[in-house]
C-alpha cells in the first residue's frame, strides 16, 4: 500500500511538473519532449488504477503518433515562441481571474450534480466485477467487438466513405514522368553527347 502511495505521488508530481515545463520551456522542442514525459507518467498513473489498456493506448497513440507529429510540426514550422509569449505577465491577472471563475463554476455545477438513481439500473455496459477475472482489455473487446459490433462496422464504413470523399475531391491525375528502364539502358553516348572543339577565349 505504502509503495503504491509513493509511486502515485511520484508519478503525479512528475506529471504536473512536466506539464508545467511544457508551457514554460523556452525551446519548443523541449516542450514537446516534456509533453511526452507527461504522457508516460499519466500512463503509469493509469496502470496504478488498474486500467492497463488505457495506459498502453496512451503510450501507443499519444506518444507514438500524436507527440511525434507535434515534434515534426514544431521542427518544420519556424514559429517564434518567445515573441508569442510576450506580454504574458501583463495578462496574467486577468487570466487567473477567468480561471478562478471557471473553477468556482465547475465546483458549483459538479457539487450539485446528482444522477437519477433509476438511470444506474439501466446501465447497459457496467464495469466488470473484479471477481469475474475479466481484464479490462477483454471487457473492452467484448463491448466493441461483440456488444457493439454493428456500430463498430458502421463506423468503419463511415471512415471508408470519408476516404473515398477525400480522394474524389482532391486527387488530380497529373501527367507523371515514368522511369523507362529500357530507354535508359539503350542510351548511347553519341545520342546525347556532342564533343566540340572550343578555341581559347571564344566560348561556344
Amino acid at each position: 500500500m505504502v509503495i503504491q502511495g509513493l509511486a502515485f505521488y511520484l508519478f503525479a508530481l512528475m506529471t504536473v511538473a512536466s506539464g508545467a515545463m511544457v508551457i514554460t520551456a523556452r525551446n519548443p522542442v523541449h516542450s514537446v519532449l516534456f509533453l511526452i514525459l507527461a504522457f508516460f507518467n499519466s500512463a503509469a498513473l493509469f496502470l496504478l488504477m488498474g486500467a492497463e489498456f488505457v495506459a498502453f493506448i496512451l503510450i501507443i497513440v499519444y506518444v507514438g503518433a500524436v507527440a511525434v507529429l507535434f515534434l515534426f510540426v514544431v521542427m518544420m514550422l519556424d514559429i517564434d515562441f518567445a515573441r508569442l509569449r510576450e506580454g504574458f505577465l501583463n495578462y496574467l491577472p486577468i487570466g487567473a481571474l477567468v480561471g478562478l471563475i471557471l473553477l468556482v463554476e465547475l465546483l458549483l455545477v459538479l457539487g450539485a450534480w446528482a444522477i437519477l438513481p433509476e438511470s444506474e439500473l439501466r446501465v447497459t455496459a457496467p464495469a466488470p466485477e473484479a471477481a469475474s477475472g475479466l481484464t479490462n482489455t477483454e471487457a473492452l473487446g467484448n463491448l466493441i467487438y461483440t456488444e457493439y459490433v454493428y456500430a463498430f462496422q458502421v463506423a468503419g464504413l463511415v471512415l471508408l466513405v470519408a476516404m473515398i470523399g477525400a480522394i474524389v475531391l482532391t486527387l488530380r491525375s497529373r501527367p507523371v514522368r515514368r522511369q523507362r528502364i529500357a530507354d535508359q539502358v539503350n542510351r548511347r553516348p553519341e545520342d546525347v553527347l556532342v564533343v566540340r572543339k572550343v578555341d581559347p577565349g571564344e566560348g561556344i
Partner: protein, 481 residues
Amino acid sequence: MTQIPDLLPALPEIFLAIAGMALLMLGAFKGDGATRLVAYLTVMSFVIAGFLLLVVVETPAETFNGMFVADDFAVFMKILALLGSAFAVIMSQRFIEREQMARIEFPVLFLFATLGMMMMISAGDLLSLYLGLELQSLSLYVVAAFRRDTVRSSEAGLKYFVLGALSSGMLLYGASLVYGFTGTTSFSGLAEAFAGGGEVGIGLILGIVFVSAGLAFKVSAVPFHMWTPDVYEGAPTPVTAFFAVAPKIAAIALFVRVMIEPFGELVQQWQQIVLAISILSMILGAYAAINQTNIKRLMAYSSIGHVGYALMGLAAGSEAGVRGVLVYMAIYLAMNVGTFACILCMRVNGRMVEGINDLSGLSRTHPLMALVLAVFMFSMAGIPPLAGFFAKLQVFLAAIDAGLITLAVIGGLTSVVGAFYYIRIIKLMYFDDPVESFDRPIGNDMTLVLTGTGLFTAFFFLFPAPIVDAAARAAASLFAG
C-alpha cells in the same frame, strides 16, 4: 462462447455494403471508363436489396442487441428510399457522361448514401441512428461538391458540410443529454424509462429539443432550412434530384421513428415542437417560392413546404397520422422524381438551363413533356383527382382527427398560396410564346421515368389500396412495439 448475432434481418444492408465495396474494387481496376457498368450494377444491387427486403427479411425482428430493427415500417420506408436512389442513379447517368463527371465513385457514393439511409430507417438505438445518419450525410456532402472545379458546386458542398456538421453536433448533444438523464441509448430502453408517465426533467426536455432540432435540420424544416435552396441550386442537377427524394424520405422516417418509439409517451412534450416547425415550413415553403426564377431553387422551397405537410401527420401523433406521412412520402417520391426528370431534360443546344422562363411555350415544342410536367405541378398543388391531393387529404384528416383544426386550416391556406407558383409554371408552358426549344431526344431512360411517375401520379386515385394498405400496416407496426 459468444453468439454470432442474427444477421438475417440486416441482410439487405450487409449485401449493399459488400456490393459497394466490390463495385469500388471493380472501379479501381477498370478505371473511369467503367462508370456506366458500375451505375447499372448499383441499380441492380438496389433491386436485389429490395428483393431481399421483401422476401427474406421477416418482420418484426431485431438484432445486434436491439441496435437494428426490422419492422413493416422500416421495410416500407426502405423500399421508398431504394426506389428514390435507383431513379436518381438512372437519371444521373446521361448527365454525368455529358458533363465530364463520369467517375466510378459517383454511383458508389449514391450506394453508400442509400446504405446509410437504410441504417437510419432501421435504427433501434441512438448510437446506430447517429452512425447511419453520418454515413448518409458524409456521402451526400461529397456528391454535392462532386463538380469540384465549379464554384457553385464546391460552395454547395462546403455549405452543406458545415451546416450538416453543426446539426450533427446538435443531435449528438441532445442524444448525450437524453443518455445522461435516462442511462440508456436504446429506443426500447428509453420507451421503458418514460412508460411510467412520471415527471419529465428539464434536462431531458432539453435533450429532446436538441435531438428534434438536429432531425429537423436533416429534413430541412423551418427554421433549419437555410441550407436547402443554396445546396439544391449549387449541386449538380442529378444530385439535387437525389437530395430531394431519398434522403428526405429517410430523414422523415427517422424523425417519425424517434418521436413515436422512444419518445412516444412524451407526445405532449414534443407535439408543440413538431407543430411549430410544420406550420413554419408550410408558410415559408408557400411564400418564399413565389419570387424564385431558378427552377431548382423553386423545388427546394417546394420540398420545404412538402416536409411541412408531412410533419403535420407526425404532429397528430396518431397511427392515422403516421399512415398519412407514409402515403405522403410515397406520393412525394413519384412527383419529385418526375419533376426532376423534366428538369434534367431542360437543355438548350447541349447546355443545361435552369430558369423557369425557359419553360415558356413548352406545350408547343414538347407537348408530351409539358403534359406530364403539368400533371406533376397540379399534383403538387394538391388538385384532385391527382395523387398529391390524396397525400394532403390523408394528413389533413389525421390532423383534424387529432383535434389540430388550426394546423389543418393553416395547411389548407398555404396550399392555396403554393398553388400560385405551381400553376404559374403551367401558365408559362401553355399560354406563353415558346423560347428556344429543348434538345431532343431526351433518351429512353428519361421517357421511362417520366411515363412511370406520370402515370402513377395521374391514376393513383384509381388504385390507392395497395399503397394505403401497406402504409397502414407499417404505421401499425410502429405503434405495436
